[in-house]
Structures are given as structure tokens and as C-alpha cells.
């Protein structure tokens, strides 16, 4: 055995020991291997397979599922430009091109000296301070021509990312309007003390009475969920906080985890008390890796104050602790059953339901899984009492809601409103003018045009997980839909036929229209694909993947039709385009190297 191989095995065995050699921690183990090695080597997989008793193909399968895990050599520096439409609107594409030129490489490839690789990644949740990127997994905001040039220099000089200027990594909260959640002055432990006085059943009753509904978008009654989990048969209950904030345009959980981490953990511990759980997880999206250490500090402080651990607040038998698991670049893991699969160290593929997580969740045991903001709101409901909580918001949407505002407006950031605020009001508050459209709740939500700006955010009218992307009249709404369609194709887990193939075909057809080869036939095909996706997809991703196209077609059909050729059919194959490779190889680009007409 060479010294190198030996030290690699040592590194791996340390990682394995940190995770108790538990196969359910496979994703966390792979993530740490990736952090220490820049890619996961075949030998490492063999070693892990031996030690964990999982087949090597299964390990490779898990690694191959997540965007941030690599099985092939990557650059020493791995640069990923956030590719949400809001980053693009702030010029991210040009900046990426600039960096590729500066460092002499093509996107998606490793530079010849193995120094750097540059690519795009799905929205990193910095839409209010973009364009953004991840450099070896660390979030960088406010990219500019100059900042990109500086980063290029630092990479050339092989300066470790940890030594880059601190202001590159500055993430601002940008709170423009606050309310009972963001202004909360909770003294850690207060809500738990109240909870202990109430008793576990009464906690569930207060949450039910408060009318609190899940803030992740689906809006299921939190109280009913907790009650079902409490009543489910099982030996070990689990509380899971979904901090996999992957919906493009959403970044409010990032701010809650930064500003109100105690409130989040207080809500989780309250839930544990209510349902009788001893084990908790916070599933944090990989893009928020920088929050891991600060959050762990908060957890440690809570342990020291007897707010986590055994006999919490001296209540005999009230035992609960929270571990943080990181995602690794997979939007689908925001879906609750896919998240649980991922927590178990598997590919993030949504499960068949029923059974639901409340009865068969983590390791098939009863699991209460809620969004970050939901746990905060639950703590708030106990703090205020159900009546006071219900007094905020509307009849069917009680409480307040954090809105992540980004796009064309002078004051992007976080706005907390009671439910029921109108789109118009939000636009006014953030200073947006000449607004053409707003994408509510991200690509999987709704795109609304000016004639609908009177509509209200809430479960009665416009349900939202919090994203609010603004497009003014200079924006091409076809381009917006195109970006979202690419997003869904990239994030489809590939389990079911309609979503795996359908999102990819939708992308191809939209690309064809974008390239100027589209016809009416293609619009018909889009509508056909939309239908197939909606009625037969396995989970919400596929069912909503066509929303961006359907909604923009409804409101902005001319944006599509202007691009069409007036033919009934036009093949996607572009004869002149097919010669591009030959031109590149011969270094020719004169008129003689082109065919006269486009298409066939």
C-alpha cells in the first residue's frame, strides 16, 4: 500500500467514525469525502463499500445523484455560477464567459492543468444579492466584472478559498419589513417552558386551533400533522426540519436560520415534546454550507443550557437532540419523502404515498416533517396563544409570511407580511415600477400578469412558499420560461417516465423555439407534454414542471409566437449548425464555410 493510499484510508476511516459507520449517514460521509478530495475516487468507494456493507454500485448510485458530488476528477477550484433567472438578469452569463476566457477553459470542463472547473448550478438562494456563485462550495455574492477578475487571479495564484477576502462571502439579511417572526425577541427556552406547562396534547390542540398551515407551499394543517404523528404506531419518532430551500427565488429560510436559529430549534423541540420524538434533523441545503458551523454553535449553546439533550429543562424523560444533515445539490430533496430518502443516505427519489411520513417516515418510523418557517410559526403560536396568532393574517391563512423579493425592483430582500397582502402592495413596498409579471412561489408556482396584481398572497388565492420574482417590461417572458424549463429538466430525479423524458423533451422543444426553428407544431407539442406531465408524474416536480410554460403562454403568447417560423413544421436539425464542429476544427468561419439557408 502506498503512503498516499494509506493516508486516504485514514481520512476515510476518520470520516466513517464521525458518522458511526452508519449506512444511513452515507450521503454525509460522501459529502465529507468530496470536501476533502475534490472528487470521490473509485478506491474510496471500494473502501466505503467494505466498511459500510453497502454494494459499491449503490454508493456510486447515490454519489451520481447529487450535483455536488463528483465521480470524475474536478478542478482544484470548482466554480459554480448560480443560474436562476434573477442571476441572469443581473448579468451572470457574461460574467461566467469572462471568467472562462480569463482562465482559458470551457464551461463544464476542467482546465488542462487541472486547476479549475467552471459550470452553472441551480439557484443558490442569493437572488437579492446576485449574481452569485459557489467556490468550492462556499457562497459568494454580488459578483461584478471586477470581483470575477479578482477571483480569477486568486485561483491562478492558487490562493486557498479560505484566504479569499471576507467581503466576497458577505451574505446580507436585507430585511425591509419585519413582523412577529423576524422581530421575535424569544429568550431561548421560553416557548418550551410554556409547552411543558401546557402538556403535549394541549400543544397539538393550540397548534390546531391556531390554524397554522405548512409554509413550504402545500399548506397542510401543522396541528393535524403533529397529531397524526403523535398517534401513529412506532418505536422511535423523528422531527425533521426541511431547510432544503431549493425553489428558485426563495431565500427566506436562509434569513430565518441566520437571524432566528433559536426560534427554529425551539419550534423543533416543541414539536418533539408534542409528538414524543427523541431524534431531530435539520436538513440544510448544500448551498447553505456556510451556515453549518454557526448553526452547530447554536445547537451546542442549547445543549449547554439544557434545552437539548437528556431531561430537557429538568423534565424527566424529555430527551431530544438535533443533528444537521447537509444536502448536496438536488432540488427534489425539498419534496418531503425524497428528503427522508436523502436523510437515510439514499438517492433522493420521492416515495410512493400512502403511507405518509407521519406514520412511515425516517427509517419507516413516525416522522413530523415541516419547513423552517413552519417551526418558527409553531413556536410563535405557542408564544402568542392560538387566538392572537389567528388574529394575524386571514381566515384560512393565519399568521405572517416571509416573502423573498427579487428581480426588477430597487429594494430586493425579505418582507414579512400578515397573510392576505396583495401583490400590488408588495410591488409598491419594494419600489418596483413598470412591472410586467411576477412569478409567485418560484417556477413551480404561478406567473401572474398586471391584470392580476390585485390578488392576495394566501391559501385562499395565491398560495406561496415565499418566492416573489419581479419582471419589468424590458424582460422577455419566453426567456424566463426557458430558464425554468431548463431548471426542471436538470432537477428531475429520473424515476418516472413522464418527468424524466417529458422535462427533457420540453427543454428540447423550448430550445428549438429559442433557436428560431419553432413552429405551431411545437406549441402543440408543448401543450401535449404539459398534459402528460400533469396527469401522470410521480410527484409535484413533474406535475408543476410545465407551469412556467403554461402560464407564460397564457399571458404572453406573443413572446412565443414572435419566435415561430410561419411554417407548420420545421425539423429541429439545423444543417448549418451541424457544420459548426467542422468549422471549429478547420478554424474557418468565412461565408464559404456556411450553408446559405438555415434549416433544411
Amino acid at each position: 500500500m502506498t503512503i498516499l493510499a494509506q493516508s486516504n484510508d485514514e481520512n476515510l476511516s476518520q470520516i466513517l467514525a464521525r458518522y458511526d459507520h452508519n449506512p444511513a449517514n452515507l450521503l454525509q460521509i460522501l459529502r465529507e469525502v468530496q470536501e476533502s478530495q475534490s472528487f470521490i475516487e473509485a478506491d474510496s468507494i471500494n473502501y466505503l463499500s467494505q466498511q459500510l456493507g453497502i454494494s459499491r454500485a449503490d454508493i456510486e448510485g447515490v454519489a451520481g445523484f447529487y450535483s455536488f458530488l463528483h465521480l470524475q476528477p474536478q478542478g482544484e477550484y470548482r466554480v459554480l455560477f448560480s443560474d436562476n433567472i434573477t442571476d441572469r438578469m443581473l448579468g451572470s452569463q457574461l460574467l461566467m464567459e469572462q471568467m472562462c476566457q480569463q482562465l482559458w477553459l470551457q464551461p463544464g470542463k476542467v482546465s488542462e492543468d487541472g486547476l479549475v472547473s467552471i459550470n452553472t448550478t441551480s439557484c443558490t438562494g442569493m437572488c437579492d444579492q446576485g449574481p452569485a456563485m459557489l467556490a468550492n462550495g462556499r457562497a459568494i455574492t454580488r459578483l461584478s466584472h471586477q470581483r470575477v477578475q479578482e477571483i480569477g487571479q486568486l485561483i491562478r495564484n492558487r490562493t486557498p478559498v479560505a484566504d479569499w477576502p471576507a467581503d466576497f462571502f458577505q451574505v446580507e439579511d436585507q430585511i425591509h419589513r419585519s413582523g412577529p417572526l423576524l422581530d421575535n425577541q424569544l429568550t431561548a427556552g421560553d416557548v418550551l417552558r410554556q409547552g411543558l406547562l401546557l402538556g403535549s396534547k394541549a400543544i397539538v390542540d393550540v397548534i390546531k386551533e391556531s390554524g397554522l398551515r405548512g409554509r413550504g407551499g402545500a399548506g397542510f394543517s401543522t396541528g393535524l400533522k403533529w397529531e397524526a404523528c403523535r398517534n401513529a404506531q412506532g418505536d422511535a419518532r423523528t422531527v425533521v426540519c426541511n431547510a432544503d430551500e431549493g425553489e428558485p427565488g426563495t431565500f427566506k429560510d436562509r434569513v430565518l436560520l441566520t437571524r432566528q436559529a433559536d426560534l427554529v430549534f425551539e419550534g423543533m423541540t416543541l414539536c418533539a415534546l408534542a409528538v414524543g420524538a427523541q431524534q431531530g434533523f435539520l436538513y440544510l441545503r448544500g448551498e447553505y454550507r456556510y451556515l453549518l458551523e454557526p448553526l452547530q454553535d447554536v445547537l451546542q449553546r442549547r445543549r449547554e443550557r439544557n434545552l437539548l439533550g437528556n431531561n430537557i429543562l429538568n423534565q424527566p424523560g424529555f430527551n431530544f437532540d438535533i443533528a444537521i444533515h447537509l444536502g448536496a445539490g438536488a432540488y427534489i430533496c425539498g419534496e418531503e419523502s425524497a428528503l427522508i430518502e436523502s436523510l437515510e443516505g439514499k438517492r433522493g427519489v420521492p416515495r410512493n404515498r400512502p403511507p405518509f411520513p407521519v406514520t412511515h417516515g425516517y427509517l419507516q418510523q413516525p416522522t413530523a416533517l415541516d419547513n423552517v418557517e413552519t417551526f418558527c410559526s409553531a413556536a410563535l403560536a405557542i408564544q402568542l396563544g392560538d387566538e392572537n396568532f389567528r388574529a394575524i393574517g386571514t381566515e384560512k391563512s393565519s399568521g405572517s409570511k416571509l416573502i423573498s423579493v427579487s428581480g426588477d425592483c430597487p429594494r430586493p430582500g425579505i418582507y414579512e407580511y400578515p397573510f392576505g397582502v396583495s401583490v400590488k402592495q408588495v410591488l409598491q413596498d419594494c419600489g418596483a415600477v413598470n412591472t410586467r409579471a411576477v412569478q409567485i412561489s418560484g417556477p413551480s408556482g404561478m406567473c401572474i400578469a398586471e391584470n392580476e396584481f390585485h390578488r392576495k398572497l394566501g391559501f385562499e388565492d395565491l398560495p406561496t412558499a415565499g418566492a416573489f420574482m419581479i419582471f419589468d417590461d424590458s424582460r422577455d417572458m419566453f426567456g424566463v420560461a426557458l430558464n425554468f424549463v431548463h431548471f426542471f429538466a436538470h432537477e428531475s430525479c429520473g424515476f418516472c417516465t413522464p418527468c424524466r423524458v417529458g422535462t427533457s423533451m420540453l427543454k428540447q422543444t423550448m430550445d428549438k423555439i429559442a433557436a428560431g426553428h419553432g413552429t405551431r407544431h411545437d406549441l402543440n407539442e408543448i401543450e401535449h407534454l404539459d398534459q402528460v406531465l400533469q396527469i401522470s408524474s410521480h410527484c409535484g416536480l413533474g406535475r408543476t414542471a410545465c407551469n412556467p410554460v403554461l402560464h407564460t403562454l397564457k399571458h404572453f403568447r406573443p413572446a412565443y409566437e414572435n419566435r415561430l417560423k410561419s411554417l407548420d413544421f420545421e425539423p429541429a436539425f439545423d444543417l448549418d449548425g451541424a457544420l459548426a464542429r467542422a468549422r471549429q476544427m478547420t478554424g474557418r468561419d468565412d461565408a464559404g464555410a456556411h450553408l446559405k439557408s438555415e434549416g433544411i
Partner: protein, 241 residues
């Protein structure tokens, strides 16, 4: 007396624990399906067996049967959907039926005929998927893989070998082999494995067998899959967990 549900207006009896698909097949009613295999726990990925229950669409192979459900299956809307899904699977891979050893025995092809898929429907994607011909007795032609997962389950649950798994995501999802080289020759796969028998298409093939049964006399040449599936359906049966 057992409970019943309604399938296209007909009464179907079921036992506790059966899915809509299992009960329907046992009672002699055909619902088109591809990734469902009577001997394995259904997982519902191909979506061909999508039915409408009280107006909601769901995969019948994973949906638990319940008393008095009203299930619609043989209706234009769903048969159109199934045709489209078959077209999608054809477009996703590289399927050249005339030169395929599995022609006539292939479930995808048989469904294509039975559902009257007359056109390609979509632009084909022509993915690059190299063959694995390294094993002395077995050929793997990934061009035809429809990601049904049956070989993964057969190898893990029946053969106890875990030879197959999936990697990648979305349209890049693909079958991988459990060896450092990634090649089949470095596994203990054998001709007698259950995994040899379950591939509904022509991915896993025995070498040195070519057209020993002439085309025209093969399984689905004799009777369409809608009839054959009912012959094959177990009236009661053990499912590999």
C-alpha cells in the same frame, strides 16, 4: 366474502393488501403495464398503468385496493397517455426492433402494437450508450434500457448479488454494474440468475443465441400482450420483498 371495487364499470373482488393492479389481473382484467412484474414489489415508475380514481390519476400498480373505489382505465384519455408514454420510452433510448434479439418477446414492442402506437411521435434523442460485452456468457445492450428497475430488484432480492444499480439523475439516469471496472465480467453474474429473466426489453441477453425462434413465432406474435398478461398473472402469488 371479499370486498370489491369498480373497474370500468365491472366489479372486481380484492383481498386486503392487494393493489388495484394485482386485484384486477387476478380477476382477469387487463390494465396495461410495463415495469410491474407479478413477482416483485411494485414501485410504479413507468406510469403506463395510470388509472383514474374518483377523478384523480394514479399508478394502479402501487395504489392499494379499497372497497367501492370507482376506477377508470380503458378510456381514451388514458390510452392516449399510455401511447405517449410508450413513444417517450422509444424516443429516449435506441430501439431498432428488426435487429433486436428480443423482438417478438419484448414488452415495450408488444405494448406499442397493442396500444396502436403508429408513429414515433417525438424526436428521438439518440443517446450514446456503449454496450457491455465483457462477460463470457452475457451481453448488456443499454441502448434498450427503459429503467424499469426489475434487474436491480431481481439481482438484489432473489439472487442476493446486487449486480445492478442506478446512477445519474433525470434524463442521465442509467444502469450501472457493481464492480470497480464497471464491467459485467468482474461480477459473479450467471446465466441461471433471476436477473437474466426479468428484463422486459432487450438489455440483458444470453450470448450466442440469435433468432433460434423465428420472428413470427415468438411470445407476443402469438397473442397480444393484453391477452398474454392475463395468462401469466398469478391468481395468488408470493412477492419478493
Amino acid at each position: 366474502m371479499s370486498d370489491t371495487f369498480q373497474l370500468d364499470g365491472k366489479s372486481v373482488p380484492f383481498e386486503a393488501g392487494q393493489t388495484v393492479m394485482q386485484a384486477a389481473l387476478a380477476a382477469g382484467h387487463y390494465i396495461p403495464h410495463l415495469c410491474y412484474h407479478p413477482e416483485f414489489k411494485p414501485h410504479g415508475s413507468c406510469k403506463l398503468c395510470t388509472v383514474k380514481v374518483n377523478g384523480r390519476t394514479m399508478a394502479s400498480c402501487t395504489m392499494p385496493a379499497e372497497a367501492n373505489l370507482s376506477v377508470e382505465s380503458d378510456i381514451d384519455e388514458l390510452n392516449d397517455l399510455r401511447r405517449t408514454l410508450v413513444q417517450m420510452l422509444f424516443a429516449e433510448g435506441n430501439h431498432f426492433c428488426p435487429s433486436c434479439e428480443k423482438s417478438g418477446n419484448c414488452v415495450l414492442q408488444a405494448l406499442g402494437y397493442d396500444l396502436e402506437v403508429h408513429t414515433a411521435g417525438f424526436r428521438h434523442m439518440f443517446p450514446e450508450r456503449p454496450l457491455d460485452f465483457t462477460h463470457p456468457d452475457i451481453l448488456l445492450d443499454f441502448n434498450r434500457c427503459i429503467l424499469c428497475e426489475l434487474c436491480v430488484h431481481a439481482s438484489a432480492e432473489v439472487d442476493g448479488k446486487h449486480i445492478f444499480a442506478f446512477s445519474g439523475r433525470g434524463i442521465d439516469k442509467h444502469l450501472i454494474i457493481n464492480s470497480t471496472s464497471g464491467q459485467l465480467k468482474d461480477t459473479d453474474m450467471a446465466l441461471t440468475d433471476k436477473a437474466m429473466q426479468v428484463c422486459p426489453v432487450g438489455v440483458i441477453l444470453k450470448k450466442r443465441v440469435g433468432f433460434s425462434v423465428p420472428i413470427g413465432q415468438r411470445r407476443y406474435d402469438k397473442s397480444p400482450i393484453s391477452a398474454q398478461a392475463l395468462v401469466d398473472a398469478p391468481r395468488t402469488g408470493a412477492v419478493h420483498e
